[in-house]
């Protein structure tokens, strides 16, 4: 019953006109940038972070969240029509969505991905609503040592589950931690790594860092990639062409549910993210299918399962972010950053201290998802036309919004220079195949971890055994260790296989 009361409170808040407008704006923009390849939710959320200084916290978070899950809806459109994923998670949808479009079934594919998105999101939100308060209650018993171990687990998980080798992932986490050290030390007031530059005394601006790493480097790498797009032609999508056959529905409802389950689970894990959820859901569908050879040739389960999974995980990713203050991926890290900017300390107290914010946000997810169905089914023609905007016009605009946005945070041209520096770093990382997401996670969690570590050591009088003697902390460390051991084993096995293959070939 308490849940209904909470939801009523939330809907009351979410239906406030201002929040409704920001919710609509968020999901609209989310769909827009989700549809367009070459700009993703990360870049957009970093671009709009400065805007949130001017709006109340609930409205700001409702909007940013709307961009995130809205992009999951839009992401599959370009995958289906152009074989070019709009968001990383939608890359899986290319596998069967583009063949469907070639068979003239693009409309059905677009319709089913929207339905799958809605089913996945709904299940994700139900889980979010049911489990968050309980988890927050548990987390209230955490001490500084427990927090430190939990954050360590989050960082290691992000590094181990990221694409590429775990050593590179951990290296990026460490680089993020190092960058997080820049600025004034909170406890002693000492200036660290500021080189006497006054603008660095408050640390590196998160908005500038994120925009450089995700925005500028994405623009640089997209310019040549987008040449191919301009040459493609598009067909018209009519509402009639979207109606699925009875077979389509029969084949996909089970896979939607399976995908939602997979997605909900992976969303709650720190560091897993929507892309991994979508890929795993696809792999599972292929394994349980009676005729796996249909996959890759336009199997409808191949689009509905990953689409449900990515949306479900986009919703459940809010569970650790809102209740523990531990972001699951880089987008969630930016959401945390937005809360900190607004003066809200994320963590287990959030649900109890800001119930209107928490439940308002959850309620806005329901509203946003209904809006998204309306945006994506009757209005699909609009988005298909959006794909014709030439990138030559789009990218200078993106760059300009990045620059003005960063500048407006502190009215500082210095921050725009920081964007350029991290644009260079981000592009170099992209070329050398280092993931930027663990870096941002480390950057945001670094200062918090240092604070908890120092407090824990002070409380234990310098005895590091405190991390093992507290049961909560010890279990987090055990999971961290197991994860490290597993990823080490997997890396060694992969290397040995590669060597054997090379010796054989």
């Amino acid at each position: 019953m308490e849940m209904l009361g909470n939801l009523a409170l939330g809907f009351n808040e979410a239906f406030a006109l201002q929040n409704l407008i920001y919710c609509f704006f968020g999901v609209f923009l989310g769909t827009f940038i989700g549809v367009l390849p070459g700009i993703g939710p990360l870049a957009t959320i970093s671009m709009l972070l400065p805007l949130t200084f001017h709006v109340p916290p609930t409205a700001a978070l409702v909007m940013l969240a709307g961009i995130y899950y809205g992009a999951q809806y839009g992401g599959s459109t370009a995958s289906i029509l152009m074989n070019l994923p709009g968001t990383p998670a939608a890359a899986v949808v290319c596998l069967d969505g583009y063949p469907m479009a070639k068979q003239g079934r693009a409309g059905v594919a677009l319709f089913m991905t929207t339905v799958a998105s809605f089913v996945g999101s709904t299940i994700g939100i139900i889980i979010l609503t049911a489990f968050s308060p309980a988890l927050a209650d548990v987390a209230l018993a955490f001490g500084p040592a427990d927090y430190f171990s939990m954050m360590l687990l989050g960082l290691i998980a992000a590094a181990a589950l990221a694409q590429g080798s775990p050593a590179k992932g951990i290296a990026m986490v460490l680089l993020g931690l190092a960058l997080g050290m820049v600025g004034t030390d909170v406890q002693t007031g000492a200036q660290r790594f500021t080189f006497g530059i006054p603008q660095l005394a408050d640390g590196i601006n998160l908005v500038a860092l994120a925009m450089g790493l995700f925005g500028v480097s994405e623009v640089i790498s997209s310019i040549t990639r987008m040449r191919a797009v301009a040459k493609q032609k598009q067909e018209r999508i009519t509402l009639r062409s979207m109606i699925p056959t009875r077979d389509d529905v029969r084949q996909s409802w089970r896979s939607m549910l399976r995908g939602s389950g997979v997605g909900s689970f992976f969303g709650t894990l720190p560091g897993a993210g929507t892309t991994i959820a979508a890929f795993i859901a696809y792999a599972i569908e292929k394994r349980v299918a009676r005729k796996p050879e249909r996959f890759g040739k336009g199997a409808i389960e191949g689009i509905s399962a990953p689409e449900a999974a990515s949306n479900a995980s986009a919703q459940t990713a809010f569970i650790p972010t809102l209740t523990l203050g531990i972001p699951g991926d880089a987008v969630m890290a930016l959401m945390l950053g937005a809360m900190i900017i607004q003066g809200i300390q994320p963590g287990p107290r959030l649900v109890a201290e800001y119930p209107e914010l928490f439940w308002g946000l959850v309620a806005s997810f329901w509203i946003g998802n209904v809006l998204l169905v309306i945006l994506n089914i009757p209005m699909i023609g609009l988005w298909v036309r959006m794909l014709r905007i030439p990138y030559a016009i789009l990218y200078p605009s993106i760059l300009l919004f990045i620059c003005i946005g960063v500048f407006s945070v502190n009215n500082s041209a210095f921050d725009v220079l920081i964007v350029m520096v991290f644009g260079v770093v981000g592009y170099a990382m992209m070329l050398l195949r280092f993931e930027p997401a663990p870096l941002v996670l480390g950057f945001i969690l670094g200062p918090l971890m240092e604070e908890h570590l120092r407090r824990a050591m002070l409380l234990s009088r310098g005895d590091p055994m405190v991390f093992l003697s507290r049961p909560i902390s010890a279990s987090f460390l055990a999971v961290t260790f197991a994860l490290l051991a597993w990823s080490l084993y997997a890396a060694v096995r992969a290397q040995r296989r590669a060597r054997l293959a090379m010796a054989a070939g």
Binding site: L51, H54, S165, A167, K168, A171, L174, L175, L177, A178, M181, D185, Q187, T188, A190, R192, F193, V216, V219, I220, S221, I223, T224, R227, Y391, A392, I393, Y395, P396, S397, L399, L400, I402, C403, I404, F407, S408, N411, A413, V416, L417, V419, M420, G423, V424, Y427, L431, L432, R433, F434, L453, R454, M457, L458, G462, P464, Q495, A498, R499, M502
Partner: protein, 149 residues
């Protein structure tokens, strides 16, 4: 010995190694403190050491396997970075509109697809949006035009 190396990881690992060493040298200038009362240098030093370790973990195995090194797209890279730099240098001295025009023109050089007229229209439109939304709408304190005295 195999002559082939995974250059991407070798370079990445060495960069991390160098960065970590530099970070350690900077951290050495701070008070370390004790485990019980950590000084401002404690965490940075620990992280610096770990960055060095992981730099080696990335670089050393890469010496013994083959790999590819992606070629950078120099033209978009240089022009895009230059355009952001130009915006940063111009915006405070000359105002938002000149900064917008400089950014747009330099960025357009990355992929010269727009005709001069189209580029002019884009500059005008973006300037209007910038001034309308950010200066008038959100009220960020930056002038549209400014003459340095």
């Amino acid at each position: 010995m195999n002559a082939k190396k995974d250059w991407a990881d070798v370079i990445g690992g060495l960069l991390l190694l160098a960065g970590g060493l530099w970070f350690m040298s900077m951290a050495a200038g701070q008070t370390m403190g004790t485990l019980r009362r950590m000084g401002p240098g404690y965490m940075p030093m620990a992280i610096g050491v770990l960055v060095v370790v992981f730099g080696l973990l990335v670089a050393v195995p890469a010496l013994f396997r083959a790999g590819t090194l992606p070629v950078p797209e120099w033209r978009p890279f240089a022009t895009i970075c230059l355009s952001v730099l130009a915006f940063a240098l111009v915006v405070e001295k000359f105002g938002l509109v000149p900064a917008t025009v400089v950014l747009t023109v330099v960025a357009a050089l990355a992929e010269p697809k727009l005709k001069p007229l189209q580029l002019g229209i884009l500059c005008l439109a973006l300037s209007a949006i910038g001034v309308g939304v950010f200066v008038k709408g959100l009220g960020i304190p930056v002038a549209a035009f400014r003459w340095p005295v």
